[in-house]
């Protein structure tokens, strides 16, 4: 007689072998629970004739600057640019997923094609669906392009499925360092009407420089993409931070081992 009530009704260990405790901890299958190769901020803002985005070309492996030729802005369809920060493998997965989406859309050559809001809606459902499986795609994503009415579109979606739109958006460190600089030009949607492409580009270049100064996972080589309202997408690759001045670094105290 087994006097331990917790064993009653269970398969007997002497007959079936002892209980495998690994079964207890078995959970749903998951893949990227921690990002591996990562990309840092993507920054973007609207201007009077479209949207401009930038992302540097670094693929970090932890704190190691592992890849310096990582392209993180991709063109999707005819007139949309998607910018990825976060895990590079999940970015590549979404990239091929979006490419197949566009191919299927082009089966019917009916003159209609996906615009930025449609791609954004699709991506946001994919991201929320994956977070609901507790298997998120480890990215924060910006989608830029044109709305159906021809006005500029800019949207954000991340690994939790959080979405929002704003005339200036930045992911990661950019949300802290670039947004204040970009909002000096455009803080409300209406402000974008008074900002030219040249002004917007200057603000983006300045923000990328500040990010390179302060973000330890960034690179001074980046890509700028511009979507204009006539439906053109322009990529400016291998852009370098200009007129950098590191004299301020001497004055920085409080990190590392300095005493004074």
């Amino acid at each position: 007689m087994d006097h331990m009530p917790e064993n009653w009704g269970r398969p007997r260990s002497d007959v079936y072998g002892s209980y495998q405790h690994a079964i207890h901890s078995a959970g749903p299958q998951s893949h990227t629970q921690v990002p591996s190769i990562t990309g840092t901020s993507v920054i973007a803002m609207k201007f009077n004739n479209g949207v401009i985005l930038a992302a540097d070309n670094l693929g970090s492996y932890g704190s190691l600057a592992r890849f310096t030729d990582q392209e993180r802005l991709i063109k999707v369809g005819k007139e949309t640019v998607v910018g990825f920060s976060g895990d590079a493998s999940d970015m590549q997965y979404l990239e091929s997923m979006l490419e197949r989406l566009i191919i299927e859309d082009n089966y019917e050559q009916d003159g209609h094609n996906f615009r930025a809001p449609h791609i954004y809606e699709y991506l946001s459902r994919v991201m929320y669906n994956r977070r609901s499986k507790v298997d998120p795609l480890w990215n924060a994503i910006l989608v830029a392009g044109k709305k159906d009415d021809g006005s500029p579109f800019l949207g954000y979606v991340d690994l939790l499925g959080i979405t929002y739109s704003s005339p200036c958006i930045a992911t990661g460190y950019g949300a802290y360092l670039a947004i204040p600089l970009l909002r000096k030009l455009v803080s409300e949607d209406e402000d974008a009407k008074n900002v030219t492409e040249e002004q917007a580009r200057a603000a983006i270049d300045e923000s990328m420089k500040v990010l390179f100064y302060r973000d330890a996972r960034s690179l001074d080589k980046y890509t700028v993409a511009t979507v204009t309202l006539d439906g053109n997408v322009k990529f400016d690759k291998d852009v370098r931070c200009q007129n950098m001045n590191w004299r301020f670094a001497e004055g920085i105290r409080g990190y590392g081992t300095q005493k004074q």
Binding site: S96, E99, R100, I102, I103, E104, N106, Y107, Q109
Partner: protein, 257 residues
Amino acid sequence: MTSIGTGYDLSNSVFSPDGRNFQVEYASKAVEADGTAIGIRCADGVVFAVEKIVSSKLLVPGANKKIQTIDKHVGVAYSGLTPDGRHLVDRGRSESYSWRGLYKSPIGVPILADRLSGYVQAYTCYSSVRPFGVSVIVGGVDKSGPHLYTIEPSGAFWGYMGAATGKGRQAAKSELEKLDLPNISARDAVKAAAKIIYIAHDDSKDKDFELEISWVSTSETGGDHQFVPKDLLDEAERLAKAEDDDDDDDDDEMDED
């Protein structure tokens, strides 16, 4: 066909004593009854053109396209039973879609043609099915350059520099032979294709037809399969019509003589 009515043509996949598969030959007849489709392999791509017979004035213009896209870089044009062509295009799409999923790269045109022809051939082997009633011109640009194939109802597939199927294929083929293939530019090939469709068209049998032209070209479309822009289609059609009318005038003059 002397062997018709001898019983060897009633079931698919049955050989006649002289080694023919009649059901496949009858499928080819369905192809020969439909409008002409041509494909031209040019310097950096492929051009498709179709004479789509308009059976009723009530049909919406531009509906029921006979040129379709299989993948970004691959197009098809076909003559024969349209639903059979539609089904084969669906098969081609799923083949190239799953190739992308597996290999993260676009499918090669020769591989796609090989797989589709294997699918078509299987429909000649079983008594429970009938062969495809279409000849499909498959073409596109992949990393090894432009390719053009025709898949016949038997499942045979041949590579071509210029291909033609359907009613006017004989006239179209002799016109294709006059072109400087494969050195012709994509733009010139579009104009030549329009001309050939007009030449192959028989006014006395079918009055109305729609001209469909599409292309895949490295220089013109960035390697994507698309219908040609409206202004180019209109220009090609105008030139083709002008030439066709000239020929008719010549004929008239000869009649007068």
